[in-house]
């Protein structure tokens, strides 16, 4: 029921949050017009010259932009695919383990990397994959040549993808494990009586049981096609692998902010935002159609 005095209480509660959103979310949106200007800090947003779509045209001409968009999409798509597969694989296997105590300990360990920052993990990873690091020692043990992973345009992207999966698979599995506990145990019992083996049960009961979750998570990942993971790339890349590792976000930071090319940086950021929001709306529709679930 709607009560008059409640309305005021609600508005009052919303006020502080809305003021902060206004200042730090909505006002910056005005800054987007810099993307259509030749922004000069001394002249400010209202004094700078309008250039229409020149920044976007320039963006399409420079070789950098093709590289960063391509890198972003390639890295992000591989991350989404690898993450989804490994996470589900891990959840399914962990679900087969019946020793509760062991399961608990395993979960405690695999959730851990998710809570460590990329700053910390970058140090761990660069030690591990360094020229004399453990991975290379292992390769030499197998009789292979050591590889400069961190400086190789061939190896750097796989390194990004593998370490991203490594950080997230345990934590990502939580949602699937929750879905797995939701499956009716009676189905398994019935299948056992019918003589179905483990694999059969997995194909006919477990996978269909978590399929809505899989579809939902995949739909929610769609907007991430342009998020290749700034923190990870930023903390691991170096000039030697710029060719394959430079992504939109690192470019905006380096060229736009540090290089003070505000207009260009904003234009690139805007393009990314627009694509992102479109994909988000699409994902929401998709999730609704596929699983009857609204993300928002």
């Amino acid at each position: 029921m709607k009560r008059k005095k409640d309305q005021w209480a609600f508005h009052l509660m919303m006020t502080p949050g809305m003021i902060l959103l206004l200042i730090f979310s909505f006002v910056p949106m005005i800054g987007i017009i810099m993307a259509f200007q030749n922004y000069v800090p001394a002249k400010g947003i209202f004094g700078s010259n309008w250039v229409g779509l020149a920044n976007f045209k320039f963006m399409l001409q420079i070789p950098d932009s093709k590289r960063i968009f391509l890198n972003t999409i390639v890295i992000a798509v591989w991350k989404i695919i690898a993450n989804t597969i490994v996470t589900i694989f891990f959840a399914l296997l962990l679900n087969e383990i019946r020793v509760r105590r062991a399961k608990k300990i395993i979960q405690t360990i695999v959730y851990l990397p998710n809570f460590l920052s990329w700053v910390v993990l970058a140090t761990v990873i660069s030690n591990l994959f360094s020229y004399g690091g453990s991975i290379n020692s292992f390769l030499q043990f197998l009789g292979l040549q050591p590889i400069l992973f961190m400086a190789s345009n061939t190896w750097f992207r796989p390194l990004l993808i593998i370490t991203d999966v490594w950080k997230g698979f345990g934590y990502g599995a939580i949602i699937y494990l929750a879905a797995l506990t939701g499956i009716d145990p009676g189905l398994y019992e019935a299948a056992s009586i019918e003589g179905a083996g483990r694999i059969k049960k997995m194909i006919h009961i477990t996978i269909p049981g978590i399929l809505p979750t899989i579809m939902l998570i995949t739909a929610m990942n769609l907007p991430n096609i342009l998020n290749a993971g700034f923190d990870q790339v930023f903390n691991l890349y170096n000039p030697l692998v710029m060719e394959t590792a430079d992504i939109i976000d690192t470019y905006v930071y380096r060229v736009g902010l540090l290089g003070r090319q505000y207009s260009l940086g904003t234009a690139v950021g805007l393009l990314k935002s627009v694509v992102g929001i479109t994909l988000m709306l699409l994902a929401n529709k998709l999730a609704q159609v596929l699983t009857d679930y609204r993300i928002f």
Binding site: I30, L112, L116, V120, Y188, G276
Partner: protein
């Protein structure tokens, strides 16, 4: 469940255990290595002789950290930031999530606010415009620059909103009849019910403030005022600026690996302290928040 005792069943069991253990060890060993390096002597560490146990055990790296004033200064800045961040994020989170959890029948303007929240969540001016706002407000080089731009963590707002929506309506209706106003209903009825989600959200907030290095990179120009993660990030910069492969090999050999490892270990200790609590609540937190009925 009936156990299949056939040979192939046992083999499958073994295979599952082996794969799971390998994946688990892959998460554990690199971290153990980092700890072992921090307790080893520099010569063994740079020669890559350290596995998961320290070689030539020494506390010298930790003794060296004790005297590094900048490390502790950054450490304290991070602590201060977490405390300030929590005390600003949590009240804002509660006050924003509660009204938008109501149906438009109860709160007439709910739809408008909900749209604003979603719009702010989906669309952002981007790094550079936000930087310019912070700059114009003269917040650069203050701790507020690290806290205020993200003062209303929208993802967590949605999480908490869903938790509020899960509170039985009858509870609220009963207290309305008793004449309670919305503030009383929020604090006396809703908050106690959503405690687990609130705990999860608070812990996420602590972790994200503690782990954030990037805000300070953008908003703090005096390196003396860097929080801990940014301080540690700067230790890595030497390596990321290298332009030729030979130099990269060289740096790996000469860098103060044990000292840096010890710094990282100390920086992770606070997270390890809250990790048991974190683990208790985050499962409930994310499952409730993302899989609402």
């Amino acid at each position: 469940m009936v156990h299949n005792k056939s040979l192939s069943g046992i083999l499958a069991d073994i295979l599952i255990w082996v794969i799971i253990l390998l994946m688990t060890l892959s998460c554990l060993l690199p971290l153990l290595n980092m700890i072992a390096v921090s307790f080893s002597d520099n010569a063994s560490a740079t020669a890559n002789l350290v596995g998961i146990f320290p070689v030539n055990f020494t506390l010298s790296s930790y003794q060296a950290i004790i005297n590094e004033m900048q490390f502790w200064r950054s450490f304290m800045i991070s602590v201060l930031r977490v405390l300030l961040g929590l005390s600003i994020n949590i009240p804002l989170l509660i006050l924003t999530a509660y009204p938008i959890s109501k149906s438009p029948k109860v709160f007439g303007a709910q739809k408008v606010y909900m749209r604003l929240v979603l719009f702010a969540m989906l669309f952002s001016g981007g790094l550079i415009p936000v930087f310019m706002v912070v700059n114009n407000l003269n917040l650069v080089n203050t701790i507020w620059a690290l806290i205020l731009p993200g003062a209303v963590p929208l993802g967590n707002v949605i999480l908490l909103m869903n938790a509020f929506r899960g509170v039985p309506k009858t509870l609220e209706e009963a207290s309305q009849i008793d004449g309670a106003n919305q503030w009383q209903i929020l604090f006396r009825i809703f908050l106690p019910v959503v405690k687990p989600t609130l705990a999860a959200v608070a812990l996420f907030t602590i972790v994200s403030h503690w782990n954030d290095y990037f805000s300070a990179l953008v908003y703090i120009t005096k390196t003396a005022n860097y929080p801990l993660q940014t301080y540690i990030q700067q230790l890595n910069v030497d390596i990321t600026q290298v332009t030729n492969p030979e130099k990269l090999k060289e740096l790996a050999l000469t860098s103060s690996k044990t000292l840096n490892s010890a710094k990282i270990v100390v920086s992770v200790v606070p997270l390890m302290i809250i990790y048991p609590f974190l683990q208790r609540y985050f499962v409930a937190g994310i499952v409730v928040g993302s899989l609402k009925e």
